[in-house]
Symmetry: C2
């Protein structure tokens, strides 16, 4: 992955390691069968192996590391979040949704395969996420397994990611103010990023009342992530991004950038990232990776 | 629901009660929010409230009753299976899949709303299923919650229902033999019916080695169910079925009926239902509802 080249070495190495581990887990979970389901499993592999930055798995693993969680357990849970993220991109790219042709620098799944396979591959990755979370390898403690499932299901459903996507669709017809755009983005992008951090804490057996600083960090980077995405949509390079840009303006959507202007949006993202880092002060140098990840989120070029 | 009218009273009453309880649970889980997610939640409600026979929840509840499981817990788990079933129908009906316009006697979800909403409503019901299973109301024991999730995730993913749907799509291009049609149907329809029975046993804390008879019952009714469906597709009344029929022939698919003929298919379904009942002999009269349900499965007219 080229992500590493422009990054400081601690973060660059962390990304490379997680990317390789996530690929291995998906490879192991998705052997291609010797029957006519092969097309489905090949489509799932196309979507989850060898592409994507793996921001969510890294967030989860870096949080879990704070509490000495077993590495393989954290990678498994990270793959579950990534499977949800991947299914949402497949369905989002469909002609009846955003109708996108490129993703991660290659044809979207329904272009490489077909629409029916894309619907089913998304659905199957959705189920795979929960299948992975209930493996004893992810946690030997059923309470932890059940809490991981509860966290991910809530973050991805109608009160989380999917709810945010609905708000996003409606925003093409209805002009949102800053409060509504913030709420939309907290659900659409923020909920799954926050779940990644939360699940790291669940694996670390941190009680809910001990997760306050982590939740504040997650909230701030979630918003910063989306502001950076809106800036990329306006200023980014399509080749580096590996997908179509300038879509918000085309669709007439209000974004952080249309509502705040480029300069104020950039200042807001920078402020949020600084604030996110401050929330982790209590963890000292152990949280260095999470702090660097926050900075990467606003500086990334794709 | 008109299902009850043509049925013996024990089964008819059981269906009516489960239908009403399932509707109540979905109603409670899906309050319509005062924001632009409203369209999504209304679509979810359209799909899961007031329609469908509720065969899977009744299977689960009737199995759970054998082991004295709390009724509300079993209904919750039944709603999770029904949410998965409902999402699969929504996605199956999409123009890029089966392109159906009627379901349960009313317009399919993408006709009543739109395609993007249908994709998201399906995805949100998928997440809701796992959300419901991790509620303490479903089980106070996290081990049971995690096992319910594991059972449902595996039954619905690429090694279960979704895998069967892929095989079904490929069957339009490729001529299957009886072995392949059986395998397809075991995955596409059988896996979720079997999961319903299995989850009743999980709630009843029956160890896997104690589930042999129940699994044999589930396997037999799963096949009988699909043979009956194939017979309905050939001989059924579209008004009673509430959906388009004669689709298998149009799409050139091999089915139990094309491969065995109407008479042999009917005899096979009847034999399977008798055999399914025999597997439950060990439970005596307690299993009367499950036995009647097996008979209903082949006699139903929709």
């Amino acid at each position: 992955m080229s992500v590493a080249t422009a990054m400081p070495s601690l973060l660059g190495q962390a990304f490379e390691q997680v990317q390789s581990e996530v690929d291995s887990v998906f490879d192991a979970f998705l052997p291609v069968p010797d029957d006519t389901r092969a097309r489905l499993i090949e489509a799932m592999r196309y979507a989850v192996i060898g592409g994507g930055k793996r921001v969510r798995p890294l967030l989860l693993v870096a949080t879990a590391e704070l509490f000495g969680v077993n590495r393989n357990a954290a990678i498994n849970a990270g793959c579950a979040v990534e499977a949800i993220h991947a299914y949402s991109l497949i369905h989002d790219d469909l002609p009846c949704m955003d109708d996108d042709e490129m993703r991660h620098g290659k044809p979207t799944l329904h272009k490489a395969f077909d629409e029916a396979t894309a619907v089913l591959a998304g659905d199957s990755l959705h189920a795979l996420a929960f299948d992975i979370l209930t493996q004893p390898d992810t946690s030997t403690d059923p309470f932890v397994r059940a809490e991981l499932v509860a966290t991910l299901a809530r973050a991805s459903g109608h009160d989380g990611m999917a709810g945010g996507q609905m708000m996003d669709i409606v925003s093409e017809e209805q002009s949102y103010d800053l409060r509504q755009v913030t709420r939309l983005q907290q659900l659409k992008t923020g909920a799954l990023l926050a779940a990644s951090v939360e699940m790291g804490a669940v694996l670390g057996r941190v009680a809910p009342e001990g997760r306050t600083h982590l939740r504040a960090y997650a909230r701030d980077i979630g918003l910063a992530f989306q502001i950076a995405d809106d800036l990329l949509d306006v200023e980014g390079d399509e080749t580096l991004a590996g997908k179509a840009l300038r879509k918000d303006e085309e669709q007439g959507k209000q974004t952080f950038v249309t509502l705040m202007g480029v300069e104020q949006a950039r200042a807001q993202a920078t402020m949020l990232v600084e604030q996110a880092g401050d929330h982790l002060a209590t963890y000292g140098d152990d949280a260095r990776l999470l702090v660097e990840l926050a900075h990467f989120i606003v500086k990334r070029d794709h």
